[in-house]
């Protein structure tokens, strides 16, 4: 520095005054000082920011501890304590998912090797869990061949006033022949009254097919409802938790609360609806809608079971998938005029013989 002081005048920056050249080193010094301080400051910040969670030993320790816990859970999960097995498996699954999340969150600061290792470990855990699940809680094997088995579930629900005709459960030679009944099926019935109560249909998936001139009352909350190949029927149901699927329905009256309604290939049918999201129609003609007016004694409780919002009803917001013009309304559906709406329904429930 002192050298600079001495030499600077002789360097002959002609127009600069000597006093100014003497100041340069001072400024340099100051700048150097500032630079050092800045560096120190940055280092401090960096140290302050590097939290323990971002050290890879922390990751591997935590990961391995968690993994050991899950392994242990899986090892005590044997066929012997079947009742506990479900709970343990559930817990193991949740823990594995948490571990996956932890890995995802930690990805930023892991080396590719660690990442690969951890992912491989997780894969092993997942497959072990699913193996265990298959071993301990085997799902019922389904086979199309076992036709004779199915007559049992078809008959057992028919404890109400109408016995399904014996021939009905065996008559499956039509187009849907390859199909075995779901948990709750009512099919191939003509001119009868069918009443089903909560004990049979509560949170079950219900299927109604090939009904003609029938009156159906489902007094409970099905989890989902399929209505197919129905003609001249009056079908009412309690609150359906998820979707109702209607196909090939003609000249009928339907009434139910549901989350979604999908209507296909339906003609000249009135629908008294409570729908919390949307109703749609596709390939339909002459379908008319009105708000739900039908009710039964236990409906409020079933609303609670279904989880539907009783105060939200979008019955008149119908999307027609064959009519995508925004400005003109679809010709395929209408709103039933208030004066024409049915408000009283046949009280079939107490009737015991018809």
């Amino acid at each position: 520095m002192s050298l600079a002081m001495e030499t600077s005048p002789s360097q002959g920056n002609g127009d600069e005054k000597p006093s100014e050249t003497v100041k340069i080193p001072d400024r340099l010094l100051k700048r150097d000082q500032a630079r050092l301080e800045e560096a120190e400051r940055r280092k401090d910040i960096k140290e302050g920011r590097s939290v323990t969670e971002e050290k890879s030993d922390f990751f591997s320790t935590t990961f391995n501890t968690e993994r050991a816990t899950i392994d242990e859970l899986l090892s005590i999960c044997t066929e012997a304590n079947r009742e506990n097995a479900t709970k343990i498996l559930e817990e193991a699954t949740v823990k594995t998912q948490q571990l996956q999340k932890f890995l995802n969150d930690s990805m930023m600061f892991l080396t590719p090797y660690e990442l690969r290792q951890a992912q491989a470990t997780l894969q092993v855990l997942l497959s072990t869990i699913s193996e265990k699940r298959d071993d301990i809680l085997p799902k019922k094997k389904f086979a199309f061949k076992s036709r004779n088995v199915k007559s049992k579930p078809a008959e057992s629900p028919s404890t109400s006033i109408t016995e399904l005709p014996k021939s009905a459960s065996n008559r499956d030679t039509d187009a849907d022949a390859a199909v075995t009944p779901v948990q709750c099926v009512f099919s191939n019935v003509d001119s009868q009254v069918l009443i089903k109560r909560a004990d049979e249909i509560q949170q079950q998936d219900v299927l109604l097919t090939h009904l003609t001139n029938c009156k159906v009352r489902l007094l409970g909350s099905p989890s989902t409802l399929h209505i197919k190949h129905v003609r001249d029927c009056e079908i009412m149901s309690g609150p359906v938790s998820s979707s109702v699927f209607v196909d090939q329905c003609t000249g009928s009256t339907l009434a139910f609360p549901c989350q979604q309604l999908r209507t296909h290939n339906t003609k000249d049918t009135q629908i008294y609806l409570h729908v919390t999201s949307r109703a749609i129609i596709e390939d339909c003609q002459g379908v008319s809608f009105a708000p739900l007016t039908w009710t039964y004694s236990n409906m409020d409780a079933d609303f609670a079971v279904s989880g539907l919002d009783k105060n939200r009803n979008n019955w008149d917001q119908v999307d027609d998938f064959n009519w995508l013009a925004f400005d003109t309304p679809s010709p395929n559906w209408t709103v039933i005029p208030v004066s024409d709406r049915k408000t009283s329904w046949d009280d079939l429930v107490p009737a015991s013989s018809e």
Binding site: Q204, D247, R262
Partner: protein, 184 residues
Amino acid sequence: MGLLTILKKMKHKEREMRLLMLGLDNAGKTTILKKFNGEDVSTISPTLGFNIKTLEHRGFKLNIWDVGGQKSLRSYWRNYFESTDGLVWVVDSADRLRLEDCRQELSALLTEERLAGATLLVFANKQDLPGSLSKEAIQEAMALDDIKTHHWCIIGCSAVTGENLLMGVDWLLDDIAARIFTTE
């Protein structure tokens, strides 16, 4: 360095995947998408058109396309085939009456040239319903064992409870990643 390697490297840099979710109407495609994304599933309406979600999972950016499954919309599915890395086929395991329809639609899709390279994940959805068919039954009904043209996997799941959704998507990601990203 071959052209393929260059392409793979480019893809790798993006770490981006395009997944196309199809299936018959009422199968639960939108519910799966929303559940996977952590959204409310109780207000979902039948899809008139399509939904797209971009989400990050395991460091990948997933573009998930959920196209409506109504009969009148199926002819538009083809518009979404281009550059699909993974096809998610969603089956309503409780809808036995339309399993044959479902099988036919899927087998038609698999002959599509533009989907030729895509990995196939079949979700046997609605396992929470008491009357639902097991994934083995769906596998048989869909004749999945006859598929030789695509990598495939079937997973029983429930979009409502979220069960197994993650497992399915993870399998799909692993399969796609092994195929299009170089391991370096």
